[in-house]
């Protein structure tokens, strides 16, 4: 599949659920979507287009907690970053672990640094912070 086809397909699938679309350069695309459609779109990217989940980036911004899901389509060298914006103070989103095993650690990390609750995650223990790190203190939150 070519890049244009993939993008047209995503636009067609999501319709009004796309909040913002940024075709930044030949190999970088950023799409802001509603969080309700994330799981379906991730499933499409992972299972049909055979994209690989690189990682998640969580950012605390004025709008809320932004999470970027970076998917790499290796045949095209293309990275599609899906951006969802979650409301503070209790950000919540569905987990991808049922779909992609490799998301387990990535989501644990975002959870402990930004306090995002991944619904359905099998194991949200601390990954990088020590076990006795204070509950509810998230190092990458800007309102600490």
């Amino acid at each position: 599949m070519k890049k244009e086809e993939i993008i047209q397909d995503i636009k067609h699938r999501l319709g009004n659920d796309i909040i913002d679309f940024n075709d930044r350069s030949e190999r970088r695309v950023y799409i802001t979507i509603r969080k309700t459609v994330l799981l379906d779109l991730a499933k499409h990217l992972f299972s049909v287009i055979q994209a690989r989940l690189c990682t998640l980036t969580g950012v605390d911004t004025r709008q809320g907690i932004e999470i970027l899901y970076h998917f790499s389509i290796d045949e095209l060298g293309l990275i599609i970053s899906l951006r969802v914006i979650l409301d503070k103070p209790n950000p919540e989103i569905d987990t991808l672990t049922s779909l992609i095993k490799g998301a387990e650690w990535i989501e644990r990390e975002v959870h402990e640094f930004l306090g995002v609750n991944f619904k359905g995650h099998p194991d949200l223990r601390h990954l990088l912070l020590k076990d006795d790190w204070p509950e509810g203190d998230y190092p990458l939150r800007r309102d600490r």
Partner: protein
Amino acid sequence: MAHKIIPIGPYHPLQEEPEFFRLHVDGERVVDIDIQIGYNHRMIEKISESKSYDQVTFVVERICGICSTSHPFAYTNAIDDLLGVQVPERALYIRTIIGELERLHSHLLWLGLAGHFLGYNTVWMWAWKCREPILDIFERVTGNRQHYAMFKPGGVRRDMDEEDFPWIRKTLKDLIPTLDMFKGAVMDDPVIRARTEGVGVLTKEDVRNYCVVGPTARASGVAIDVRKDDPYAAYDKVEWKVITYEGGDVFSKLVVRILEMYESVNIILQCLDKMPKGPIDLNIKDIPPGEGIGRHEAPRGEVFHYIMSDGGNSPIRHKIRAPSYMNIFSNKKAVIGETISDATIILAAVDPCYCCTERMAVVDYKSGKRIMDGEDLIRLSQEKTARLKEQFCK
């Protein structure tokens, strides 16, 4: 049934990449594994937010002591992506040479350690001896054997002296017979094959599911390589091929790494021939608001950097994902069902910091009594090799 637990790790603070494996064993078989990381977490992503864009290059260089250029490489790619600039061609060639020299020395280091853990201490000594000339090249070109400080956003910090090129060419060509020797030693040795073939297999499906990258993925026949897929630096200006192998076991990972070293030599020699004259730096002053993603194929796989800028002096978010982060997690799949004596080499096959295994101990879960320590486990692995050697020599 209560299983015994073998803790491996956690770490020695002087080694990079500490981790803690808790193997649940039933007799000799590993039935489950719990992996813990974070013992040496330094929160570099947060530190980065308080440094200027130029300083960040030095900070990220210190993430890893072995592949120290991988992170500056990916970081500068991310900044170049954010700016949308074209870096001077000479700088691209220099970046490529540094990246490939690093792959050479890192793979040789791994090969030596793998040899040691299998009970081939000669391989260990030889591999590390052969690694020295690569470090000599680094010292001549950059002034340092490690932490080369060559990269900066928009270019490189130092030029390469053309007078050194003949000597670099010769040093690299002299490495080829050594690589041939290692290739023969690994591919033709029945004992190494018996120890590594069919051990710790990751299937293509596992690779996709665990999002594995680098040689660990390529050894399962998945041809992903950022250098080819998303070309940067001078990788699309030289001829080379992505090495893959179908087995998915430890043997395949050995083969992929050895064959990749030939490609690295090949890439560097072409870069030395093709490098144009000209400027090496764009002298970037300001970073505008925006975001950028940079990737680099490090010796262990894809390094991923994401930068978000608000137009100030420092990034407002800098996400870093190292390849071992994905690869170590895949041990959860590879090691289950194998024996304790094979666990060392499987855990090592993804090339995490191996030194952690030096601190292994087998503890009786109920009494907490120490049964075996790291040296005993290495001995166990080496004895298995010795037994096989006898068997094959008969």
